[in-house]
């Protein structure tokens, strides 16, 4: 199969060596967790516990608000000691529930799983996923059940798992694929059952040979399973599944190039289809979920376990002993880093997620959230100072690398002068802020910052107008 890669992209040094071969280890049970009510895109959850309440692991502590929202669960058992505003790694302070551990680490009652999970009604499966608080764990944190509920008229043909992990430094997804391929593939089968598709794909960058091997072996077992007939009911409509139709999962090795793990670029690599500007993946019949999300879906459906922990990579020159850890949601960065030999003098910038699209943290007193794929402590030499940028010299490097075929050079200059509407004409809204343009810019221009600013200004103007 020939992979049609996207035009553009960059090759930052991958720096995965220090953790790529380190097995995932369970982090120490935290004494205290700070669990933000907003760890997802959409309306924040509303706390349903108060100070003094005893909670157990997996117990719901925040209720979803509206369609694009998910509930939040306690990640340890213990006592609620505070409900209030606390720093969040996703930006400004956010409402959070603080739980002090009782050391027992007991699961809440009534978390029932399902043995026959593939024969459940898709709506039941969607609800389990929503109630388990599952969101995109690659960092985007979009509620998974929403992505798995395309409108009836959108015919979904491809269920794609994202195992590209194209960000430098991160190895959490690669380790998960290597160590728990079964969970991921079962999660994918649940996704396929919900979407009623027979073609599943797992895209993995070609530099993760062990992960590809492990996933391929697991995917090979899927091919012989028949699609069970109970998938008929969907939104009250009869759905014909051809007899003898088989589920098949293919592991697709992807070219090693950033941002290969971006949703639209991944879909192109796997299906050859390009999602048109302003459209969603479902418009070309594709639904993409991260591999860690698929594993979480399996845990939720099979064992009734809500999303209370995740795997992340703690690494970078600023970390003394880089590791891949399985961490409870709400554990503070400083607690985790102390289990990795501590932070050293080299650390100049601490990023949640990868160094290309991650969010810089000014403090280590922030908790791990559902989208925390890594904690990367960059050195002074690597971490750039964005205050120091020059004029655009029109060298065109950004145009060469833009995976969306935009002209970041012109966009940047328009935005710099406040011409947001014109920037929109130049494709501002197609930019997904991968940062390839800034990465190559010899003038060090903060293109992503420009883009974020312009998008916010446009949104504000629109809000004012309506």
């Amino acid at each position: 199969m020939r992979i049609t890669s996207f035009k553009g992209g960059v090759h930052p040094p991958d720096n995965k060596k220090s953790t790529a071969s380190l097995p995932i280890v369970d982090a120490r049970l935290p004494e205290r967790v700070v669990i933000p009510m907003s760890m997802h895109i959409g309306a924040p959850a509303k706390p349903i516990v108060g100070v003094g309440d005893a909670v157990r692991k997996g117990q719901k502590i925040g209720e979803a608000q509206g369609a694009v929202s998910v509930p939040v669960h306690a990640s340890i058992s213990g006592k609620v000691i505070a409900v209030g505003s606390f720093p969040s790694p996703m930006g400004a302070d956010a409402q959070a529930v603080v739980i002090e551990s009782d050391g027992a680490d007991e699961w809440a009652d009534g978390l029932a799983g399902h043995d026959d999970y593939l024969s459940l009604n898709p709506d039941v499966l969607r609800n389990i996923i929503k109630e388990a608080g599952i969101v995109g764990m690659g960092g985007a944190t979009f509620p998974s059940h929403v992505k798995l509920s395309p409108p009836k008229e959108k015919k979904i043909k491809y269920a794609i798992l994202n195992g590209a992990e194209c960000e430098p430094y991160l190895t959490a997804d690669a380790r998960l694929m290597e160590e728990n391929p079964g969970d991921i593939i079962e999660g994918l089968k649940i996704i396929m059952a919900i979407l009623r598709v027979t073609d599943g794909f797992v895209g993995v960058e070609d530099n993760k040979k062990a992960a590809i091997k492990a996933m391929s072996a697991e995917a090979g077992k899927v091919a012989c399973e028949l699609v069970v007939e109970t998938y008929y009911e969907r939104d009250g409509i009869q759905y014909e599944v051809p007899k003898g139709c088989k589920m098949g999962v293919k592991v697709v090795p992807l070219p090693v190039k950033y941002p290969q793990g971006s949703e639209k670029q991944l879909i192109k690599a796997v299906t050859g289809l390009e999602v048109p500007p302003g459209h969603l993946p479902m418009d070309v019949g594709a639904v993409v979920q991260n591999v860690a999300t698929a594993a979480a879906i399996y845990q939720a459906v099979r064992f009734g376990r809500p999303l209370v922990e995740r795997v992340l990579t703690v690494t970078g020159p600023g970390i003394n002993e880089p590791r891949n850890l399985r961490v409870r949601i709400g554990t503070l960065f400083e607690d985790i880093i102390s289990q990795c030999g501590g932070i050293n003098k080299k650390a100049a910038k601490v990023v949640m997620g990868g160094p290309m699209m991650g969010i810089a943290q000014w403090s280590l007193g922030v908790p791990v959230v559902k989208g925390t794929s890594g904690i990367v402590a960059l050195s002074e030499r690597e971490a750039v100072n964005v205050m120091d940028f020059g004029p655009c010299i029109r060298c065109g490097r950004c145009i060469e690398v833009c995976p969306m075929g935009l002209n970041p050079s012109v966009l940047g200059q328009l935005i710099e002068k406040g011409h947001f509407e014109e920037a929109k004409d130049y494709g501002l809204l197609d930019c997904f802020e991968c940062g390839s343009c800034s990465f190559v810019c010899p003038s060090g221009r903060p293109m992503v910052q420009f883009t974020k600013w312009a998008k916010r200004e446009l949104a504000r103007k629109k809000q004012k107008a309506s």
């Binding site: 505070a82 606390f86 650390a347 100049a348 290309m356 969010i359 010299i393 029109r394 060298c395 810019c441």
Partner: protein, 331 residues
């Protein structure tokens, strides 16, 4: 917040900003200095051919360009960015566009026009419409034609005196005034003519004669990816093809005048040429057509300078006409 009560009492504060948090390490000064370095073989060859006076002209040109840049930025209260190397590159290119016989005040005047008017008045680095060094050359051409049309013939002389006595026409000048046959008679054979042109053993501006040294520098820039083939190859090929079509000698056309210098080092100036590859091909094509037209039909023997300057005007239009295909857009 009270750290006693706050479970999040992180002490150390780190730098925070939007991503990406790492960069490729490429920088404007690095680019400018590398391009300047790529010109050094040709500059060195010109010093070898035209003597120490050539060296002095180059130094004066570079120094005055740098000084005017600093002066303009100081007057405008802007940050002085001479160290980014862009003014120094302009000075070097301007110097290489002058005859070694030029009086010493010529590069100073040229630099003033290039840096003060063409670059800084338009907003400084990144905002100038025209190639500063070429505007400098064009200005001197118009204002001091006596000095700018008397091109010294390489002597290998070590004299600092102005080599007035030995100036002559350039090969293209002879071609224009006296014809191809007369030009050939200056050389032992046609083959000898090509070799002499390649080695730079002919009259002309200091930097444009040593074609072989220019190609060496250009190859390095191509290898480093600082320039791409799109403009220079299209430019030179267009000149060669048009010359051949109209009965001229395409090899002579490619090796003579300022074509190699212009195509590889001036028509590749990021700021004043199109950014998009397809637009660059159109740009190179335009440069080639105008150069050939001027050489074949115009009053001047050489047209590279004006061709590039004229095409500089079209840069914004070309970039708009050849917008890249957006991802997912139906072409």
């Amino acid at each position: 917040m009270d750290t006693e009560k706050n479970p999040q009492g992180g002490a150390r504060v780190f730098r925070a900003s939007a991503g990406p948090h790492i960069r490729s390490g490429e920088s404007v000064p690095h680019i400018m200095w590398t391009v300047s370095a790529a010109l050094l073989p040709a500059a060195g060859l010109s010093v070898y051919y035209f003597g120490p006076r050539a060296f002095l002209i180059l130094i004066i040109s570079i120094a005055s360009s740098a000084a005017f840049e600093a002066l303009a930025q100081k007057l405008m209260g802007a940050k002085i960015t001479v160290s980014d190397g862009s003014a120094i590159l302009t000075g070097l290119l301007l110097g290489m566009n002058l005859p070694a016989s030029a009086p010493f005040y010529l590069p100073v005047i040229g630099s003033a026009v290039a840096i003060l008017i063409t670059k800084q008045l338009f907003g400084g680095l990144g905002y100038n419409i025209f190639n500063p060094a070429l505007i400098g050359r064009a200005f001197l051409m118009a204002s001091f034609p006596r000095f700018m049309t008397a091109w010294p013939v390489p002597q290998g002389s070590l004299s600092l005196a102005r080599p007035d006595a030995v100036t002559g026409a350039t090969p293209l000048g002879i071609l224009k005034e006296e014809g191809y046959r007369k030009l050939l008679s200056h050389f032992a054979s046609r083959h000898d003519m090509y070799v002499q042109l390649l080695l730079g053993h002919r009259g002309g501006a200091m930097g444009e004669t040593g074609v072989i040294a220019l190609l060496f520098g250009a190859a390095y820039l191509l290898y480093k990816g600082y320039i791409t083939w799109h403009i220079p190859v299209t430019f030179i090929a267009t000149v060669a093809v048009l010359t051949a079509v109209f009965g001229g000698d395409p090899w002579l056309a490619m090796l003579s005048g300022g074509l190699v210098l212009g195509a590889f080092f001036m028509a590749t100036d990021y700021v004043t040429v199109p950014q998009l590859k397809r637009a660059q091909i159109a740009f190179g094509l335009g440069c080639g057509i105008i150069t050939a037209l001027i050489r074949l039909e115009g009053g001047y023997p050489e047209g590279v300078c004006y061709a590039i300057l004229l095409m500089n005007c079209f840069t914004p239009l070309l970039d708009r006409a050849f917008r890249p295909r957006k991802f997912g857009e139906v072409a």
